[in-house]
Amino acid sequence: MDIPLDLLVNGIVSGLLLGGFYAAVTVGVSISFGMVDIVNIAHPAFIILGSYIVYILGVEFGIDPILAGIAMLPVFYALGAAIYQIYYVSFEKRGRESLRGLAFFFGLLFITEVSLVLVFGVDYRMVPAAYVGPTIRLGFVDLPLRLLVPCVVALTAIGLLHLFLSRSFIGRAILAVSQDEFALRLMGASPVATKRVAFAISLATAALAGACLIIIQPVEPSTGRDYIGRVFAICVMGGMGSFGGMVIAAMLLGIVESLTATFYGPSWAPAVAFTFLLLTLAVRPAGLFGR
């Protein structure tokens, strides 16, 4: 088969941009699942919630989606802290309740999604912003702003988060929790408080990821489901708690998906992430870039 070069290059470029965004979607799960071992499968649903809030702020008040996403960070942080508190009291404290903890988040996913359906219906929503339409052209390479902006925002946010985790006391405590709770006690940090902060941060990232999402594509309540597979595929492939591995895995997946959509049609795209995930899990459960 003769593959046109421009299609190939454009596929790879938009895959890389998409990958940057995927990293933003995944970073929350990388923290909650990868670092503090809380399997929040409802995370994509919270991202959609973020998208809808950004949508309202944009349509009703004319606030820029990225700014709206940043403004929502504290709200989502508080929501995360509250959810962790319930999770801790109901499951972690009792011990050996992983099945029910999983069901809890599965229920939250469902509640969030159905609530959005009840409030907004199942129509697709988009957000107005100057950078949704235009595309920068470099030769035959297209750089659509609606992909470029989320990618830049995402990578910046991940970079800042990485600095925070490696430099601040609480950040190091979070990293220590993922290694060894005993070491954490030696540091003088309480595991519960540390995990609460970690989970709250992970949920806060959903606000920004939601903003990025609604810039990239129109959103409806069940859109989140498409991301469950992607998020966990990337997280696992990236080696759980590692940000570097996560970004590389996200870009890889972005490229593969984008090329699949270009050459085989978009209806095959959803299966790509999950096939990736299944293969990763089957061949290397520790992830491609695992510890």
């Binding site: 229920g107 469902f110 509640i111 459960p285």
Partner: protein
């Protein structure tokens, strides 16, 4: 202390020396079938087809919840992919219908075989995947299968396909009544199988897998073989529940066949009812299934799913052992 007493009470019920285990199990099967037939006659006496349409869904959920619990409740492997097994059964029926329409019972057997084989494959995943990784893999499998079906034109692709339902069946009468009867008997069979497993050598083996697989192996439990049995049996029943579905809806598309509601319900029902025994999923399915059927007609179908989500979250937080757990706690 309290926990110990409760555990022993539950266990003594199961392990009490039986006059003849085989006879008791035959009695149970007979009773289950009798209940199924009674339900059928009761529905018939109402004389309204809606009862059959609504009852069918509840019965279907008894099968799905019981099947899910054989894997999830007994061995502790949480399957998020119920929809995939169900749809595999439904779509095998569609394929058969298009190629060589056979009696419904044959469709059910084929659907069970197909989904049982998928279950066997999923079982091999447990070799490498524990806990949540297994759950995520089952979810992934459901999406991959949905994509395959969506791109498979023979079964209608994303548009879906119509399946003509025969008008009537000899003796039973109207086809929806026939579907109801078949599903009721299937539910009786599923519950009987689940009960057979409990308190048997297999049931004890499943429990050790749920508790500690390494220790189970050291105590002689062939964990892989048992997990394969659990995933196969569980998958097969889900497929059998799905096989008659195209005739029930008469129009099947990937969105309805792979509806996430199957996954949520098949998890919520056992957890609400209680995962320790066969009775839990049955109670959960009847309760949640009926609430949803009522809510669908009286309120809206979106709201009834919200209800399921809220009930599920409420129960896992407040009543970790489900309704059965609450009942047992009351008992002195």
């Amino acid at each position: 202390m309290r926990r110990g007493d409760k555990g022993s009470a539950a266990r003594e019920n199961v392990a009490a020396p039986a006059p003849s285990a085989a006879r008791r199990s035959a009695t149970f099967l007979a009773a289950a079938v009798a209940v199924a037939l009674l339900a059928f006659l009761a529905a018939r006496s109402v004389g309204n087809d809606y009862v059959f349409f609504a009852g069918y869904v509840v019965l279907q959920y008894i099968v799905l919840a019981t099947a899910w619990n054989i894997l999830g409740g007994y061995t502790g492997y949480v399957n998020f992919g119920t929809a995939a097994f169900f749809a595999a059964g439904a779509y095998s029926s569609v394929v058969l219908h298009k190629l060589v329409p056979l009696p419904l019972v044959v469709h059910i057997l084929v659907g069970g075989l197909v989904s049982g084989l998928i279950g066997l494959g999923v079982g091999y995943l447990t070799l490498r995947l524990r806990g949540v990784f297994f759950s995520i893999a089952t979810l992934a499998m459901a999406v991959v299968m949905q994509t395959l079906i969506t791109n498979w034109e023979f079964v209608g692709g994303s548009r879906g396909t119509y399946v003509i339902r025969p008008a009537a069946v000899p003796i039973v009468g109207d086809y929806i009544q026939y579907l109801f009867l078949v599903m009721a008997l299937l539910a009786a069979l599923a519950v009987w199988v689940a009960r057979q497993i409990e308190g048997s050598r297999l049931g004890y083996g499943f429990a050790t897998i749920r508790d500690d697989e390494v220790a189970a192996e050291a105590s002689g439990v062939p964990t892989l073989r048992l997990k394969l049995i659990a995933t196969t049996v569980s998958g097969a029943f889900m497929g059998m529940a799905g096989a008659p579905y195209p005739y029930y809806v008469t129009y099947l598309d990937p969105a309805s066949g792979f509806n996430l509601a199957y996954a949520v319900n098949s998890i919520a029902m056992p957890l609400v009812g209680g995962t320790a025994t066969w009775a839990g999923p049955v109670i959960g399915a009847i309760l949640l299934g009926s609430i949803q059927q009522l809510a669908t007609v009286t309120i809206s179908s979106a709201l009834n799913l919200l209800l399921v989500g809220v009930i599920l979250v409420g129960f896992v937080i407040a009543a970790p052992n489900g309704i059965m757990g609450l009942l047992q706690k009351r008992r002195p």
